[in-house]
């Protein structure tokens, strides 16, 4: 980025240009693991967004104090503290969602999105821009996994967010709720994104050649 990063530009970058799921391919475990129902996608996404925002903010604020050699353990402690906070909060206020997401909540600690943003963004940029980056990346992740979860829930149980969409005669595809369905749905989705990008590039090139 040539111009100075601001809160808003960092936010948009995370939400779209460098979407963690579809562009950076980070944080695949929760992306595939919990996306059998749309509501899980929203819950997981927002929990990750919370951790990402605050870990980015704190790591960025401490970036000149943390010695380079022990930065990884330092990041881990910051991240793990926020994960513990959101875990305890969810156990207290949203126990159903917490038990649906299971081990994946403590596993936010090892979500590579958070590490990658701490290392490649928050360690080099001022706190406010890092907060924006965390928010954008988090919401980009939330949108991507909710979208994936909607597709899987629609075919796997004929509903989205629990509302019946498919006609009653629809036979749910059990495979969509399994590990295999997750891999294949994401694979097809990425292939579609790739195909779209290639055809857009072709059109742009054709236009430029024409002009």
């Amino acid at each position: 980025m040539a111009k100075k990063p601001t809160f808003f530009s960092a936010f948009l970058n995370g939400l779209w240009n460098e979407n963690p799921t579809f562009v950076l391919m980070l944080g695949m475990c929760p992306t595939l693991g919990i996306t059998t129902a749309a509501i899980n996608g929203v819950g997981m996404g927002l929990a990750t967004t919370f951790v990402l925002m605050f870990s980015n903010l704190f790591i960025s604020a401490l970036r000149n104090i943390i010695p380079d050699k022990v930065r990884i353990p330092a990041y881990i402690i910051v991240i793990a503290s926020f994960v513990t906070m959101i875990d305890l909060m969810m156990q207290a206020f949203l126990p159903d969602l917490r038990s649906a997401l299971g081990t994946y909540i403590p596993l936010i600690v090892v979500n590579c999105i958070i590490f990658a943003r701490a290392e490649s963004y928050a360690a080099k940029n001022p706190p406010l821009a890092s907060l924006g980056d965390g928010l954008g990346m988090g919401l980009g992740f939330t949108c991507a996994i909710t979208f994936l979860a909607c597709i899987r829930e629609l075919f796997g149980s004929g509903a989205i967010f629990g509302f019946q969409i498919m006609p009653a005669s629809y036979q749910p595809m059990a495979i969509m709720n399994q590990v295999a369905g997750g891999f294949i749905t994401l694979g097809l989705l990425l292939a579609a994104v790739n195909a779209l990008k290639t055809s857009m590039d072709h059109k742009r090139k054709a236009k430029e050649a024409h002009a």
Partner: protein, 191 residues
């Protein structure tokens, strides 16, 4: 003895952490381009998971439970794993430089491999004793290695085959992994 045998088969095939439970997908997709690197990663992970299961058991029952600090579990375990990875890296450098060179690049990556933390957390949830948790870690890791090696071998072949351009790379790998997961479902009724 029966318990251990069924654990071995269970974690290797039936409840394989990657193919049946969705843990460790990042290294599964990230380091499965070449067979040799996949083997190196698998060996490093086996080593760390086994040791981590052993140590986190002590941390849980001799540190966290007596002082009523169970809510610190996540922080304590991830710190144990991070320290362990660092120790293993330094020890290997001194003891066996050739092994260090073979595994070196993958060691730091293991800290963020969620299989390690997932195994440690699940050992506590399942209430295993010391021997069982260590054995469980020792069995889960070859399960991870097995799926990593299989995918790497298939992807090496895919490189040479004529795929549509938009299927190259990750989409192709994901669909391959999906088909592998379907075949792993066949082990379902084994134990």
């Amino acid at each position: 003895m029966n318990v251990y045998l069924s654990m071995l088969i269970g974690y290797l095939l039936v409840n394989n952490y990657v193919m049946c439970q969705f843990f460790g997908i990042c290294p599964f997709l990230g380091v499965s381009k070449k067979f040799d690197t996949a083997l190196g990663m698998g060996m490093a992970v086996t080593f760390v998971i086994t040791l981590a299961s052993f140590i986190t058991w002590f941390v849980q029952y001799y540190l966290l439970v007596p002082f009523h600090l169970e809510y610190m579990q996540t922080i304590a375990f991830i710190l144990v794993i991070a320290v362990l990875v660092q120790v293993v890296e330094n020890a290997l450098k001194k003891l066996s430089f050739s092994l260090y060179q073979a595994l070196g690049v993958y060691l730091p990556l293991i800290t963020t491999n969620c299989v390690v933390l997932a195994v440690a957390l699940n050992n506590i949830t399942d209430g295993w004793n010391l021997l069982e948790s260590t054995f469980c870690g020792f069995c889960s890791a070859p399960g991870f290695t097995l799926s990593l090696l299989l995918l790497a071998a298939i992807r090496e072949r895919l490189e040479l085959s004529n795929m549509p351009k938009w299927m190259n790379g990750f989409p192709g790998a994901l669909i391959t992994a999906g088909l592998m997961a379907i075949s792993f479902m066949g082990f379902g009724g084994l134990i």
